[in-house]
Amino acid sequence: MSGRIRAERTAIRTLGGVLVAFLVLPLVALVVTTSFVDFEQGLSHPLVWPALRLSLLTTTISLAITVALGTPLAWALANTKSRWSHAVETLSQLPIVIPPAVAGIALLFAFGSRGLLSSENSSLTGSTAAVVIAQVFVSAPFFIQAATSAFRHVNPKLVVVARTFGARPLRVFFRIAIPLAAPGLVAGAALAWARALGEFGATLMFAGNLEGQTQTLPLAIYTAMEADMRAAQALAIVLVVVAFALLLFVRATMRRSLSAEGRA
């Protein structure tokens, strides 16, 4: 009988193992098929540094916009229970599920030269601002989702107590809600940043592909595939390492917040 149990356990693990192997293999391949020399030469390709700088700049700006506008929105969503707030929450999550190519076309029709919000003489397409717009569009929903969930876990009694002692809504928001929800907010911001860093389709379609102006890291990888595969691979490895570090950070933050909740 115990042999039977062991066999069944092995069966379950084998099935799971197949999927894990499939998920990990491409990333392993990315790293083991390069050599240190190739990696170094890849990183010295002229595409690399302008793209890295631009990615850092644009994702910092888009993250600041996302956090500045997303935090109040998430607090409001966490504290209202009307049909409208449900609708707003659903709408704000829509960009998570729509394909990037759809986002690109939609942004063109909204902000492009012939778009809804176009003006006579200026066009956003081709500008760095367009990159930021694309990044905010695809990444803000991740932050809103995480922040709303973090605010929902803030003990409502604390808020009530603060209000009875005369604290005004802004003071409650800044002194109670944000500190208590901080781990969730940070994790959400990290996820949103990762998504903005990886943004590709909408940027290519809406913003363009010009070195130093709109060519972010993912676009540089795509462009480098045409020119020098080693540069594409080197950039890809850099992005994997950054993403992995970010994932570890998010998981550590969430674990700490969970254990803190457990103690409370």
């Binding site: 069944e8 397409t125 010009l210 070195e211 595939m225 020119a227």
Partner: protein, 277 residues
């Protein structure tokens, strides 16, 4: 007595090990089914983006002449297709928008017997809003937003060659004045066309065939012959092609009178009809 919680549709002999085995077998079958070996009636053609309209039109009469055969296309930038070939993709036929990539693939023994089947020339396309602004090649710097191909794709390389020539004849600085207006360098020629026909860019450089396919959404400005370059399109059979006979038949059809006529209808010049150099 232990209550049986299994769903009634499950066979009595069902157990975990069997299920796991079945899943693995199913997986193997599904993955195997995605392979494309042993399909005698399928012709896979990798072709440069600029061939999209011409080749798609040609597939109709070809399939008519070869009953039961299905032609499948993979249209992309020539360099992208080259990368796919170098990483093990085995189409039957490869049609390139420039001789350089073709030569490299022949040298790498991935293709053989290339033959030039068509020629194309770059033109300037102008968005409807800017039609009055850019009326000749010399007007190109007057456009506020210009889109070109990246230097690594054929159209981008031809563009750079033309701009270099223009610097010599239209005065030094012409190239720099154009490049100051560039808002994006696209990775294939259809993206250049899309940006112009959507009005996101005022002008771009594409092939004559692309300009023709856009119809009235763009206006076309010819480039003076002394500045222009000719794009040659070679076609070849892939080494290890699953269907070498069909591949030959496709190339013969492309080179036949009917095929060449369809290419000319799409805006290509064909080697026989091309004027004296």
């Amino acid at each position: 007595m232990r209550r049986d919680t299994r769903p009634p549709w499950l066979p009595k002999s069902w157990n975990g090990v069997g299920a796991a085995g079945a899943c693995l077998v199913l997986l193997a079958v599904l993955v195997g089914a995605c392979g494309r070996d042993g399909q005698p009636d399928r012709l896979v053609v990798f072709a440069a983006t600029s061939l999209r309209d011409a080749f798609t039109t040609m597939s109709g009469p070809f399939e008519g002449a070869h009953p039961g055969v299905k032609v499948q296309f993979n249209f992309a930038g020539t360099q992208q297709l080259r990368t796919q070939l170098e990483h093990g993709a085995t189409p039957d036929v490869f049609a390139s928008a420039d001789a350089r990539h073709m030569d490299a693939l022949v040298a790498a023994r991935l293709l053989f017997d290339p033959v030039i089947f068509a020629e194309n020339e770059p033109v300037v396309v102008v968005s409807t809003e800017a039609a009055g602004l850019v009326q000749s090649f010399e007007d190109l710097p007057k456009a506020d937003r210009v889109v070109l191909g990246t230097a690594d794709v054929p159209i981008g390389r031809y563009t750079n060659q033309m701009l270099a020539k223009a610097d010599a004849t239209l005065g030094p600085g012409f190239r720099a004045r154009v490049e100051a207006k560039v808002i994006s360098r696209e990775l294939n020629v259809r993206q250049v066309l899309a940006k112009v026909s959507l009005g996101e860019a005022q002008a771009g450089i594409v092939y004559r065939t692309d300009a023709r396919s856009a119809g009235a959404r763009v206006t076309t400005v010819a480039i003076p012959p002394e500045l222009n370059v000719t794009a040659s399109y070679p076609i070849a059979v892939a080494v290890g092609a699953p269907n070498p006979d069909l591949a030959r038949a496709w190339i013969d059809f492309v080179l036949s009178d009917a095929g060449q006529r369809l290419l000319r209808a799409a805006g290509f010049t064909t080697p026989d009809t091309a004027g004296p150099p």
